[in-house]
C-alpha cells in the first residue's frame, strides 16, 4: 500500500506533498483549538505512534504470502486529529529506517493512509448513537467497519495511482484488470485489519474506555 520512490511522476509526488501539507496544517489547527497547551499532547501522541509503528511490523500469514497491518483505521480511532501527523511521522521513520515506502512519495503515502484514517475517526464517532446496552457490539462493529474502509480506500488510491502512472503503454482493459486484481489482493488484509481493530477497541472499551473518548 506504500508507493515507493521512483514510480510516480514528480508532479504527483509534489501534489502529494502539497495535499499532505494542507491536511497537516488543518490537523495542527484543530489540535491547537482543542487544547490550551497543545504540546502537552505530544508525549501521548508520540508514544502511541511508537506502538502503532511497532505493531505495523508484525506479519500475519495469508497463504501464499503474509500481510502486515497498516493500522490506519485504528490510528484514526485512537488518535483523532493527531492521526495525520502521527502517520506522517510513522511513514517518515519507515522510509528512513526500512526503506519502506519512499521519501519522494512521503506526501502521497501520507494522504493514502492518513486521509482514510481521519475518515475512520468520523465513522467511529457514530458509536455514541448506540445505547448503553449495545455499546460493546456497536463499538466492535464500527471498529471493524472503520478499519476495513480505511484499508479499502487506501488500497484503492494506491492501486489507481500505481497502475495509471507507471506503465504508459498498458491498454485500458489491462489497467482495469490490474486495479481490480490489486484491490482484491487487499481484501484479506482489510478483513484482518477489521478484526484486529475490533478486538483492540473492545479491549480498550473494557480496560480503559478513556482512550477511545478523549481527544488529548
Amino acid at each position: 500500500m506504500h508507493v515507493p520512490d521512483g514510480i510516480v511522476p514528480v508532479s504527483v509526488a509534489a501534489g502529494g506533498f502539497a495535499a499532505a501539507g494542507g491536511v497537516t496544517w488543518l490537523s495542527l489547527r484543530k489540535i491547537e483549538r482543542a487544547h490550551t497547551v497543545p504540546r502537552n499532547g505530544v508525549p501521548k501522541a508520540s508514544l502511541l505512534t511508537a506502538v502503532f509503528f511497532m505493531a505495523s511490523l508484525i506479519h500475519f500469514p495469508v497463504p501464499p504470502t503474509s500481510v502486515h497491518l497498516v493500522l490506519s483505521g485504528l490510528m484514526g480511532v485512537v488518535l483523532g486529529w493527531y492521526a495525520f501527523p502521527a502517520i506522517l511521522v510513522g511513514l517518515f521513520l519507515q522510509a528512513v529506517m526500512f526503506q519502506h515506502g519512499g521519501l519522494t512519495t512521503l506526501g502521497v503515502n501520507a494522504c493514502i493512509i492518513g486521509i482514510p484514517a481521519l475518515l475512520a475517526h468520523r465513522v467511529f464517532t457514530l458509536r455514541t448513537r448506540f445505547g448503553a446496552r449495545r455499546r460493546a457490539a456497536g463499538t466492535a462493529a464500527l471498529g471493524f467497519v472503520a478499519a476495513f474502509v480505511a484499508v479499502a480506500l487506501g488500497a484503492a488510491a494506491a492501486s489507481l495511482l500505481i497502475v495509471t502512472t507507471v506503465p504508459a503503454h498498458l491498454d485500458a482493459v489491462v489497467e482495469r484488470t490490474a486495479v481490480t486484481a490489486l484491490l482484491f489482493a487487499h481484501v484479506p488484509l482489510g478483513v484482518i485489519e477489521g478484526m484486529f481493530t475490533a478486538i483492540v477497541v473492545l479491549f480498550l472499551l473494557r480496560v480503559q474506555p478513556g482512550l477511545l473518548e478523549e481527544r488529548f
Partner: protein
C-alpha cells in the same frame, strides 16, 4: 534424568564478546537454584536459552532429558519475566490466567478448574475480575506467577522476582515458594537475602561463566569471591557470624 543439563553452553552476538561463555551446569529435579551476579552477567540470557527462546551458538542443552529446540513450546517450562508487565495481556486477570491453559487445548471445564485451583493456591481470588494493567506491581507479579503456574510447569524460572515488591509481597512469595515442593526452581535475583531464604544451591554467574556453585550461605559469605564479582556479603550472613559466635556468652548479655 536431570531437570536441566547444560554443557558448554555459549551464546553471543556476532562481533561481540560472548554473553555466555561455556556454561556447564546440571540441576536435579526439585532443586532450587539461585543465580546471582552483576547486571549483564548473562542470567536472563541463560533463561532465554533454557526456555528455547534464543538459540545457543554452541553447546548442549536438555530439560528433563529432552533437547531444547529453539522456538518449540515446552509446557513443562514456565518463566515469570523480570518485566511482568509484558506478560499480562488480557483484559481481566481471569482471562489472563486462562490464556495458557486455553492454548494447550484443554476443554472449557478443565480450563476453569485449572484457573480456580491455581488462583486459590496463590491467593488472588479477589483480583479475578480486575484488569491486570491497573494492579500494583506486587499484585501484577502474583498474577503473572499464577498464569505461569496454571500451565503446571515442572521447571519454574523466576527472573528478579522481588524487584518492585514491598516486604509484604516478598514474604508472601517466599512462603509460596517454600510450599512448592515438587517444582525445580531457577531464580535470578539481586536480592541476595531472598536467594538465601528460598534456594538450596546458588550459582554465581559473571562474564558469561559460572564462577561459583554451592550452598548459598557458603558461596555468599565468601567476601573475597563476592567482591570480585561486584557483589557484597548479605548483612544477614554477617549477622549470622556474630550470632554463631555469640551463644557462648549469651548469658552475660541478659
Amino acid at each position: 534424568m536431570r531437570a536441566v543439563h547444560a554443557s558448554n553452553l555459549t551464546f553471543g552476538y556476532p562481533g561481540g564478546t560472548p554473553v555466555l561463555d561455556g556454561v556447564t551446569v546440571g540441576l536435579d529435579p526439585g532443586e532450587r537454584v539461585g543465580i546471582i551476579g552483576p547486571n549483564g552477567a548473562g542470567k536472563t540470557t541463560l533463561f532465554m536459552l533454557v526456555c528455547g527462546v534464543a538459540e545457543p551458538m554452541s553447546g548442549g542443552l536438555e530439560v528433563f532429558g529432552q533437547r531444547v529446540e529453539t522456538g518449540a513450546f515446552r509446557p513443562e517450562i514456565g518463566m515469570v519475566f523480570h518485566h511482568t508487565n509484558d506478560q499480562l495481556i488480557c483484559p481481566t486477570v481471569r482471562e489472563d490466567i486462562a490464556f495458557g491453559p486455553q492454548n494447550i487445548a484443554l476443554s472449557r471445564q478443565e480450563v476453569e478448574e485449572r484457573v480456580d485451583a491455581t488462583v486459590s493456591a496463590t491467593g488472588i481470588v479477589h483480583l479475578l475480575d480486575r484488569a491486570p494493567h491497573e494492579l500494583s506491581s506486587g499484585e501484577q507479579r502474583l498474577v503473572a506467577l499464577t498464569g505461569v503456574l496454571a500451565m503446571m510447569p515442572r521447571l519454574l524460572i523466576l527472573d528478579e522476582p522481588t524487584s518492585d515488591l514491598d516486604l509484604r509481597y516478598r514474604r508472601r512469595l517466599i512462603q509460596m515458594l517454600a510450599e512448592m515442593k515438587e517444582h525445580t526452581l531457577m531464580i535470578a535475583s539481586h536480592d541476595l537475602e531472598f536467594v538465601l531464604e528460598t534456594c538450596d544451591r546458588v550459582l554465581l554467574l559473571d562474564r558469561g561463566r559460572v564462577q561459583a556453585d554451592g550452598v548459598p550461605a557458603d558461596v555468599m559469605s565468601d567476601s573475597g569471591l563476592m567482591e570480585a564479582h561486584g557483589l557484597e556479603v548479605p548483612h544477614s550472613l554477617m549477622a549470622q557470624w556474630h550470632r554463631h559466635s555469640a551463644p557462648a556468652h549469651a548469658d552475660s548479655d541478659g
